[in-house]
Symmetry: D2
Subunit: 132 residues, 4 copies
């Protein structure tokens, strides 16, 4: 398992007329969390793509538990691990950085495929990155 924590500010473009963030932005923030988690593990997702290993999203689940406004500083906590033989699962919690209030909890499941989209066993360097 690989763990990571990062901060991110809510952009004006991510708000909607309810005054909080629009719901689909959470999936974009999840992607930022995945990108920085993999970077922290030693092989960035850009490098993985260049090596011909893709992680297409196959499932996402989100629970919306709190509000976040423009310019709020958020904290994204990520845990990633293998799920079955050819999948990765990222569990992500987004909180307000100042008071720890939970905004979104969820997970994404990703296939591990070659550049042609064919499922593959995770290569050795990916196993090492995941600490297994």
């Amino acid at each position: 398992m690989l763990r990571h924590e990062m901060n991110l500010r809510v952009r004006y473009s991510e708000t909607d007329q309810m005054g909080t963030f629009y719901n689909s932005r959470a999936l974009e923030w999840f992607e930022c969390a995945r990108t920085e988690t993999l970077r922290s593990g030693g092989v960035t997702y850009a490098q993985m793509e260049a090596r011909g290993v893709l992680l297409p999203l196959v499932e996402a689940h989100l629970q919306y538990l709190g509000r976040a406004r423009y310019d709020d500083l958020l904290c994204l906590r990520t845990e990633v691990q293998f799920s079955g033989k050819a999948r990765l699962r990222f569990d992500i919690t987004i909180t307000q950085a100042n008071d720890g209030k939970v905004i979104v909890e969820g997970y994404t499941v990703h296939a591990i495929t070659d550049a042609a989209g064919k499922p593959m066993r995770p290569p050795e360097w990916l196993r090492q990155e995941m600490g297994s």
Copy 2:
């Protein structure tokens, strides 16, 4: 239960460098499906907000099952019904309009609240709109 079906084209802005739609767009398409489903039921979501009834998203689940490219014509099929006493659940399937291949399946669950965000029992006109 209220059922609805509509078409929608993939915008260029909705693609990503994998050549298919970016994953968070599915939640935006789900919102288009909800908007048109409620319109077909007789009270639009804009009218609901004007009447002080909001449907904030509390949970979303998505399964990504196929690809869709720029300018592909998609079909969005929606079923909406009450879930418990103060929630609505939209089940949505997105397929390719030409061959019926499934792209995304998922659901969203919404609280029913007043303008201040306080949960409320669904008003009579909303029960009628849902056909119950």
Copy 3:
């Protein structure tokens, strides 16, 4: 010159906390206008890309003149013509469909390139599509 007119509804995801559309959405709507204008001319942009002719954006100008809210029905009027030897210019006006009030006026200028990004003279079918 090729002219086109279409309607489009403001999505909830396109609003921001000011209650009107977020400014960058206008560029996404301009793209919808370009897509449908080229379709009306007989060769869609998807077909152009498949033929190895790309129209990368090189310049955009936008004037924000009015408000548009969630679910407002907009009218997009487009005029497209050659600009110099290897460029296309789209002039687009977005109005409220019901009262004609102007929301955004602007233009985008596009290079005409091959699949490798090298500028090229417009092929004969593109000249015909532009009515010149």
Copy 4:
């Protein structure tokens, strides 16, 4: 005049099927540049809104001069100054952080209004923030 410089990484959600960033993202990055520039000046835009001073966008101009890919680190350089009596103009250049190659050059012009949208003279604290 107030000057500011910041870095920002291209998100996967900001790419399109051409493999570079989608054009409307530049307006979203411009907004990030404005937000951080005003923060560096001492009064954040969130604080300005809370004080009843808004900066609605009235004009934008963008020149697209280079490519940027997923995970590229960009540098955003901003200069902001008064334009006429009741407007602010932000001139922004986006470059690749590693080699300085220019990606986008442009500006945005903003009205200075009260919470009701009525144009107003810039308050003294805003003049001070602009260094004038």
